[in-house]
């Protein structure tokens, strides 16, 4: 029984069957990669996991509880954090404030009318945020305007924000898309570090095979809305079905 169990999930947009009959089981404390060619339904599947889309059929269970019908913020409070393809951070706020917000969300829940205390007086949250910035090697940037940072730093900050919530499942949506090689390698190193140091399950959607094979313990290949194979990385590499899906029928 995995921490995330996707059973018979289907989703249709008008005439397009985006997801056919998806079954997926993500084991606790592993890195599970979902790969597939463009239009395979990777993003649709991810959106079904976080509450942005509701599948037409099937069930999605996280740690024994259904996530279907819950709003994104409720699913996040259950322990699923999401990193976006283009970093989604609070561009108008400082780096430290960016880190404080998930820390407050962890401590106070989805809403709290904490309007009278001042932020600096919230010592416990402040310490936690500072520690997280330290861990992400961003402490020197704490007073920077978040929008003015490089893309690699924004990605790092976003991952840090997700980690500060101590999620049980971290979802990464093409975390290295559009990055230069150096930034990509830094991100891989960061994710490896996270994997080693924390009790965390990671599900990653990725295009870049280099990233996938450096990180994943288990890989699911998605094609035309249905899982083609699920196997260990070394077996996936040589699988003819996978090659076919990626290179077309003729190959």
């Amino acid at each position: 029984m995995g921490i995330l169990e996707v059973k018979n999930v289907g989703k249709r947009f008008g005439g397009l069957q985006a997801l056919g009959d998806v079954n997926l089981s993500v084991k606790e404390n592993t890195v599970h990669a979902i790969i597939g060619p463009n239009g395979a339904g990777k993003s649709t599947l991810l959106n079904c996991l976080v509450g942005k889309l509701i599948p037409d059929t099937g069930s999605v269970m996280f740690d024994g509880q259904s996530v279907l019908g819950r709003k994104p913020f409720e699913i996040n409070q259950m322990g699923i954090s999401r990193v976006f393809q283009t970093p989604e951070i609070f561009g108008d706020l400082s780096v430290l404030e960016n880190m404080l917000i998930p820390c407050f969300a962890k401590r106070d829940g989805a809403f709290s009318l904490n309007a009278i205390t001042s932020v600096p007086s919230e010592k416990d949250v402040l310490e936690k945020a500072e520690a997280m910035l330290e861990e992400m090697n961003m402490a020197d940037k704490r007073h920077m305007h978040a929008a003015s940072m490089s893309r690699g730093d924004k990605r790092r900050l976003e991952i840090g924000m997700c980690l500060s919530q101590e999620p049980r499942l971290l979802l990464l949506d093409e975390p290295t898309a559009g990055m230069a090689r150096a930034d990509t390698n830094n991100t891989i190193d960061l994710l490896k570090e996270i994997k080693e140091q924390r009790d965390i399950t990671i599900a990653i959607i990725e295009h870049d095979m280099h990233v996938v094979f450096s990180l994943a313990d288990r890989i699911t290949v998605l094609a035309q809305g249905t899982p083609l194979v699920e196997d260990d990385p070394q077996n996936i590499r040589g699988n003819p079905k996978v090659r076919e899906a990626y290179l077309g029928e003729s190959a």
């Binding site: 913020f73 989604e88 609070f90 561009g91 917000i101 989805a110 809403f111 904490n114 009278i116």
Partner: protein, 400 residues
């Protein structure tokens, strides 16, 4: 002090000094001088300064922090005024219950309108609030006449019950508003040489409430809640995926700012116990938008500055007429003098709104941060020049 850091404490103190000394500051001209008409230190006007200041501070909590642009805030001001006047009619002429009721009722009203309007964002939100406000205005004008007294406006009469007070004073007139017996209209006049300064009880009540309102807004801005509101403005998507429910945050901001507007409305009625539907019209909502933007939306002091600025110049400009202008420009040759007066004429007197509109456009185009940003830019420029002077003199020294 008061749980604020040094900078905020200083700002609060500056505002405190300015409001408490306003009767002096706004009356710089001796009573007999020709310039006396430009004095603004009379109670009626000073009350308006601080009341609109409160209104703008509240509006800024919504717009400045969350970026939700409401075009219907005057509705809450109007509701506050009506509630207060009803309190004067039914209970007593004491302003405390009246102000409390106006805050509560406008808060409830804001909860209702906010709950519906906040289901949409952006331009849709602006138009929904506009529609609600205009609807309230139309209702106050027509159907709700039993409550609002329609076009005439709600006024006190001699037959009002006033359970805890008297329907009429001993000499048969309508009693006046008071704070536990201290009449709001009572004014102490102090003559210093040729100057006359007026200290009005009502003004000081408003000023103290302004300070409290301003203090509270500083606390909100600096609190985790305020930070969350800024986060809503910055990236709602990230908010949702960080486990935060944006709706109660925006609704809370909306209700708080609605209560500020109701407080302003209640104070308005406490100073002059009548309430009319025109206070709810959308152009009145537009006015508070102007004040906040002009002063600097999202900054603490901006709305107060904006409200003061607009109300002050409204008063000054409407008093300037051609006669005054001719006086000012009499040093010029006749033809030129007439020409200059002719050019300025459309912008003064009744043309104040024209001036305001142009000023507002200039601010939105060139100075999105309002007066506060303007001040910062000037400060930076002065500083920069100073530094440049230092550096040039520094480079010169070795050459000598």
């Amino acid at each position: 002090m008061f749980g604020l850091d040094n900078k905020d404490t200083r700002m609060l103190l500056v505002v405190a000094v300015l409001t408490l000394c306003a009767p002096f500051i706004l009356n710089p001209f001796p009573t007999d001088s020709a310039m006396a008409q430009f004095n603004a230190g009379y109670p009626d006007l000073m009350q308006r300064f601080v009341i609109f200041g409160i209104f703008a501070i509240g509006f800024n909590i919504l717009f400045g922090l969350t970026g939700y642009l409401s075009f219907g805030h005057a509705a809450f001001l109007g509701v506050g005024s009506y509630s207060a006047v009803w309190m004067f009619k039914l209970l007593s002429m004491n302003v405390v219950p009246a102000i409390l009721l106006s805050v509560v009722i406008s808060g409830l009203f804001a909860l209702l309108i906010g709950f519906v309007s906040l289901r949409r964002s952006g331009i849709y939100f602006s138009i929904l609030t506009l529609a609600f406000a205009q609807m309230s205005f139309n209702l106050a004008y027509s159907v709700l006449t039993p409550i609002t007294n329609g076009e005439t406006g709600l006024q006190l009469t001699l037959d009002d019950p006033r359970i805890l007070g008297v329907s009429a004073t001993a000499d048969g007139s309508i009693p006046v508003t008071s704070l536990f017996g201290l009449e709001m209209r009572s004014t102490f006049e102090m003559a210093v040489g040729p100057w006359a300064f007026q200290f009005n009880a009502g003004y000081y009540l408003c000023a103290l409430i302004l300070l409290a309102a301003f203090y509270l807004s500083i606390r909100i801005f600096r609190s985790p809640f305020g930070m969350m509101l800024r986060a809503v403005k910055s990236n709602q998507q990230r908010m949702n995926y960080t486990g935060l429910n944006t709706k109660p945050y925006t609704l809370a901001a909306f209700v708080i700012s609605g209560m500020y507007a109701g407080l302003a409305g209640g104070l308005m009625a406490s100073m002059d116990p009548l309430a009319g539907a025109e206070r709810m019209q959308w152009t009145a909502s537009g006015e508070v938008v102007l004040m906040t933007i002009l002063g600097g939306a999202g900054t603490l002091i901006g709305p107060v500055l904006g409200a003061g600025f607009i109300k002050y110049f409204e008063n000054i400009f409407s008093k300037i007429n051609d006669h005054v202008l001719h006086g000012w420009f009499s040093f010029m040759p006749d033809g030129l003098e007439d020409f200059v007066v002719f050019i300025i004429h459309p912008f003064i007197g009744k043309g104040w709104h024209l001036t305001l509109g142009i000023l507002f456009m200039l601010v939105v185009v060139f100075l999105p941060g309002g007066l506060v940003e303007g001040g910062q830019r000037i400060a930076k420029w002065v500083k920069g020049r100073k530094n440049k002077d230092d550096s040039t003199s520094a480079t010169k020294t070795p050459a000598e």
